[in-house]
C-alpha cells in the first residue's frame, strides 16, 4: 500500500456510499484528505497506484452518462482495478431482465464494487439489500449524487480553506436535482449557510426542513453569497413546463456578466455540468476567472479514487 492513512483518524467503515445524508464531518474530511493526497501525487508525476490491483469495479449505468462514467472508469484504473463497463443499451435489460438480476449477474462474475447510476431514486439503496459487493451511487433519479456533492464541496473547501460560515447558493432546478440534495447534506454538515434559489415551481415542498433558506430572486441574494452552484435545468426529468420559457428562465436565473458585477469580488462559480450555455450560465461567466467548472471536473477524478479506495478498505476491514 502506497498511501499511509493518517493514524489519528478513525478508519473508514462504510461498505456502501449511497448518499451524503448522515455522512459525518469527520468522514467527509477523510474523503477530502485522501482526494488531496491523490491530487498531490498526480501533480508529482505519480498518477497511478496499485491499491485496487485484483479488485473488480463494475460500472452499471442504467441511465446514459458520459462524464461521470468516464471519471469513474479512469479513477478505478488509476488505482489498478479491473473495470467492467455495463450500460443499459445493448444489454439484457432490453430483453426484459430486471435490474436486480443484472446486478446479481455482474456480482457473480466477481465484482467487488458496483458503481451504479439509475434513473429511479433509491435504486442503489435497493441493491444494497440484494448484493454483497459494495455499492457506490453514481446518481439515482432525483435523490442523491454523492460523488458530485463531494467534489463540489471539496472544490470550495480547497479554495476557501473551510466551509464554516460560508454562504452557498444552489440555483435553479432544485426539485429534480440529485446534486442539490447531496450538496445540501455535505454543506450543512460542514457548517455552511445554504440558500436554494429558483422559480417556486422548481423548489420542492418542505425543503426548509432540510435546514436551507429559500429565495426566488437571484439578484436579491447575489451580494451575500460566497459561492454559486448553478444547477442544470433538467429538461429530461420535468413533466410538463415548470416555467414559461427558457428565455424567461435565463432572464431571471441565468448567471451572466452583468450579474457578476453585483456579486462579491471573490465569488466562486460552480456548475455540475453538462452546462446549458446561455441558459443557467453565459459563456463569459463559464469561461471566466470566477469559474471553478474545470477544477470540479479534475477534482471529481480524485474524489472518486478516494471513494473507491475507502470502500475497498472497509471491505478488507470487515473480512
Amino acid at each position: 500500500m502506497e498511501v499511509a492513512s493518517a493514524p489519528s483518524t478513525k478508519p473508514w467503515t462504510r461498505k456502501h456510499l449511497v448518499g451524503l445524508r448522515g455522512v459525518s464531518a469527520e468522514e467527509l474530511q477523510t474523503i477530502f484528505r485522501r482526494a488531496a493526497e491523490y491530487k498531490e501525487r498526480a501533480r508529482n508525476g505519480e498518477p497511478k497506484s496499485s491499491e485496487l490491483a485484483g479488485v473488480v469495479v463494475a460500472n452499471l449505468f442504467f441511465e446514459n452518462s458520459t462524464r461521470t462514467r468516464t471519471s469513474f472508469s479512469l479513477a478505478a484504473r488509476r488505482l489498478s482495478a479491473d473495470v467492467v463497463d455495463f450500460s443499459a443499451s445493448g444489454s439484457s435489460l432490453s430483453k426484459g431482465e430486471t435490474f436486480i438480476d443484472t446486478a446479481l449477474t455482474i456480482q457473480a462474475m466477481g465484482a467487488d464494487q458496483m458503481v451504479v447510476r439509475h434513473s429511479s431514486s433509491g435504486a442503489p439503496q435497493f441493491l444494497t439489500r440484494h448484493l454483497n459487493c459494495s455499492v457506490l451511487n453514481a446518481g439515482d433519479g432525483t435523490h442523491e449524487h454523492p460523488t458530485q456533492g463531494l467534489l463540489d464541496v471539496f472544490t470550495i473547501q480547497e479554495r476557501r480553506g473551510s466551509l464554516q460560515g460560508a454562504t452557498v447558493a444552489l440555483v435553479g432546478d432544485i426539485l429534480h436535482s440529485r446534486v442539490a440534495r447531496s450538496n445540501i447534506w455535505a454543506l450543512k454538515t460542514l457548517g455552511a449557510r445554504v440558500i436554494v434559489c429558483g422559480p417556486a415551481t422548481l423548489i420542492p415542498p418542505h425543503v426548509t426542513e432540510l435546514g436551507v433558506e429559500v429565495s426566488h430572486s437571484l439578484d436579491a441574494i447575489l451580494g451575500e453569497v460566497d459561492c454559486l452552484n448553478l444547477l442544470r435545468v433538467q429538461f429530461e426529468r420535468q413533466r410538463g413546463a415548470f416555467f414559461p420559457s427558457i428565455a424567461e428562465y435565463a432572464h431571471l436565473y441565468g448567471m451572466n456578466g452583468s450579474r457578476l458585477l453585483s456579486a462579491r469580488r471573490d465569488v466562486l462559480i460552480l456548475a455540475p455540468g453538462p452546462i446549458n450555455r446561455g441558459v443557467e450560465i453565459t459563456p463569459d461567466v463559464a469561461d471566466g476567472s470566477h469559474s471553478m467548472i474545470l477544477d470540479q471536473v479534475s477534482n471529481g477524478l480524485y474524489i472518486r479514487m478516494a471513494c473507491l479506495a475507502l470502500l475497498q478498505e472497509a471491505r478488507r476491514g470487515s473480512v
Binding site: F99, S120, H143, E144
Partner: protein, 424 residues
C-alpha cells in the same frame, strides 16, 4: 347440511347491539339462537373467543381474468377466508374489465367453483373503465354486480360522474370512487411532503385527494346518488365527509389499516412494499382518520387487497405498482391500530367490517340475527403470532408486515354454515 354449535363464545353482533357470552347454532346454512331439533354434527368450544358476523370487504382485487399471476378468484377466496372474510366484493380492474353482464357472471361462476367465500362482482362505471361512456349498468346488475367503480382510475369527468350517479341511483346502487385528481398525482410515488423532498421521489399532494373528495360530494349532493369514497387518507377529506354527512349527503367512506399504522417515513428504505395508493401520509393525517373512525364518519375498513406478483413489485420504486396484499393481515392490524390503544371497542370495530360494508353493497350477511346467513368468524383476540408472507394463501407476498409480531387470530371462518377455514 351440517348443524354446528359454537359454545361459550363472546357473541358480538353490531347490527343488533348484542354483546354477551353465549351459544350460537348454525343449521341449514342459517343462524339460530336456540338449539335446533337436529343434533349438532360439530361442537366448537369457543370460550375466550369472539363470535362475530363474517367479515365483508367492499373492494378486493383478485386479478382474474387477466392477471392470474397476481391472484385468482380461487386463491383470493382462500386468502379471504383465512383472514376471516366470508364475503368479498371484487374490483372490476381485470382484463377484460368487468363492464358487461358476461364478465360479471364469470366472476360469480369462478367464485362458485372455488367454493370458499361469497364473491360479489363490482361493475365498471364506464366502458373499459376509461371514464368516457357509461357501462351497461342495468345489465351488470342483472349479472350480479352489487355496486360500481372504475377502480384506481377514478371517473374524472364530472359530467360522466353526474350521469353515472343519476343512473345508478335508479336502482339505489353506490359508486365507489378512488378520490384523486389524476393530473396532480401523475408519476407520483409517495405523499408529497418532507420525505418526498428528502428522498427525491415524486409527490402525491394531499390536495389531489381533497379536491376530488369535494367534487364527488358535490355531485352526490346534486344528484341524490350514493357515493362511497375508497381509502380516504387526509385530514381535510375526513372533515369534508363529516360535514357532508351532517347535511344529509349520501356519502360513505372507508379507510385501510395501513394509513393508520404507517407513515410516509416508511419509504426511507425505498421498499416498494410501502408503495400504496393513496400514499402513506403523516402522523397527523393518521390521527384524523382515527377520529373519523371513532365518530363514525368513516364507517368501513377495507384491506384494499392488491396482490402483486414479486417480479412486478420488487423493483425500482418509481416503476413498481401500488398495493399491499392485505386480506390475511387485516384483523391483527386493526387490533394493533384500534383495539389495543383503546380507540374502538370490539363492537365498533366489527361494525366497520360487517354492517358497514353490508349496507354499502346491499348484500346479505354482516349480522348474527336469527335466520340470517350462516356466515360467522370466530376470533381469538389475544393470540400472539408472527406474520409470515411465505404462508399466505394468496398467490402474492407483497406485504410490508412480514415478520411483524401481532395479536389476534382467526380461529374459524364459516360461510353459509360450512367451515371454510380452521387453522390447526
Amino acid at each position: 347440511m351440517a348443524t354446528l354449535h359454537l359454545r361459550g363464545g363472546r357473541i358480538v353482533d353490531p347490527a343488533s347491539g348484542r354483546d354477551e357470552i353465549g351459544d350460537l347454532w348454525i343449521t341449514a346454512g342459517q343462524i339460530r339462537h336456540s338449539r335446533p331439533a337436529a343434533e349438532p354434527d360439530d361442537v366448537f368450544d369457543v370460550r375466550g373467543c369472539i363470535v362475530a358476523p363474517g367479515f365483508i370487504d367492499c373492494r378486493a382485487t383478485f386479478g382474474e381474468p387477466g392477471y392470474e399471476e397476481d391472484e385468482t378468484i380461487s386463491s383470493g377466496s382462500a386468502a379471504a377466508v383465512a383472514g376471516g372474510f366470508t364475503s368479498i366484493a371484487a374490483m372490476p380492474e381485470t382484463d377484460p374489465v368487468v363492464d358487461t353482464r358476461a364478465a360479471a357472471e364469470f366472476v360469480s361462476r369462478q367464485a362458485e367453483r372455488a367454493g370458499l367465500c361469497r364473491v360479489y362482482p363490482l361493475g365498471a362505471v364506464t366502458k373499459s373503465a376509461k371514464g368516457q361512456e357509461l357501462a351497461e349498468i342495468g345489465q351488470l346488475i342483472d349479472g350480479g354486480a352489487v355496486a360500481f367503480t372504475d377502480g384506481k382510475r377514478p371517473v374524472a369527468n364530472a359530467e360522466v360522474l353526474r350521469r353515472a350517479l343519476q343512473y345508478t341511483g335508479m336502482q339505489d346502487r353506490a359508486i365507489l370512487q378512488h378520490s384523486q385528481v389524476p393530473e396532480l398525482v401523475a408519476g407520483g410515488v409517495m405523499h408529497e411532503g418532507f420525505y418526498s423532498t428528502l428522498l427525491g421521489l415524486r409527490g402525491m399532494p394531499a390536495a389531489a385527494e381533497e379536491i376530488a373528495v369535494r367534487c364527488n360530494i358535490a355531485l352526490a349532493e346534486a344528484t341524490g346518488g350514493r357515493i362511497h369514497l375508497m381509502g380516504i387518507s387526509t385530514r381535510n377529506s375526513v372533515d369534508e365527509i363529516r360535514q357532508a354527512q351532517a347535511r344529509g349527503v349520501r356519502v360513505t367512506a372507508d379507510a385501510t389499516p395501513y394509513h393508520l399504522l404507517l407513515t410516509d417515513q416508511c419509504l426511507e428504505g425505498f421498499d416498494p412494499n410501502y408503495k400504496i395508493d393513496p400514499p402513506l401520509r403523516t402522523a397527523d393525517h393518521a390521527a384524523a382518520l382515527i377520529e373519523g373512525l371513532k365518530d363514525g364518519t368513516i364507517g368501513i375498513i377495507s384491506a384494499d387487497h392488491r396482490p402483486i406478483a414479486a417480479e412486478k413489485k420488487l423493483r425500482e420504486l418509481d416503476q413498481a405498482p401500488f398495493g399491499i396484499c392485505g386480506l390475511e393481515t387485516l384483523l391483527p392490524l386493526c387490533i394493533e391500530a384500534l383495539i389495543l390503544p383503546g380507540r374502538l371497542s370490539w363492537p365498533e370495530l366489527l361494525a366497520k367490517l360487517t354492517t358497514g360494508p353490508a349496507e354499502l353493497l346491499g348484500v346479505p350477511g354482516g349480522t348474527l340475527m336469527e335466520g340470517g346467513p350462516g356466515d360467522v368468524t370466530v376470533i381469538d383476540p389475544d393470540a400472539p403470532w408472527t406474520i409470515d408472507a411465505a404462508r399466505f394463501r394468496s398467490l402474492s407476498r407483497n406485504t410490508p408486515f412480514h415478520g411483524r409480531s401481532v395479536r389476534g387470530q382467526v380461529r374459524l371462518t364459516i360461510v353459509g354454515g360450512r367451515v371454510c377455514h380452521q387453522p390447526e
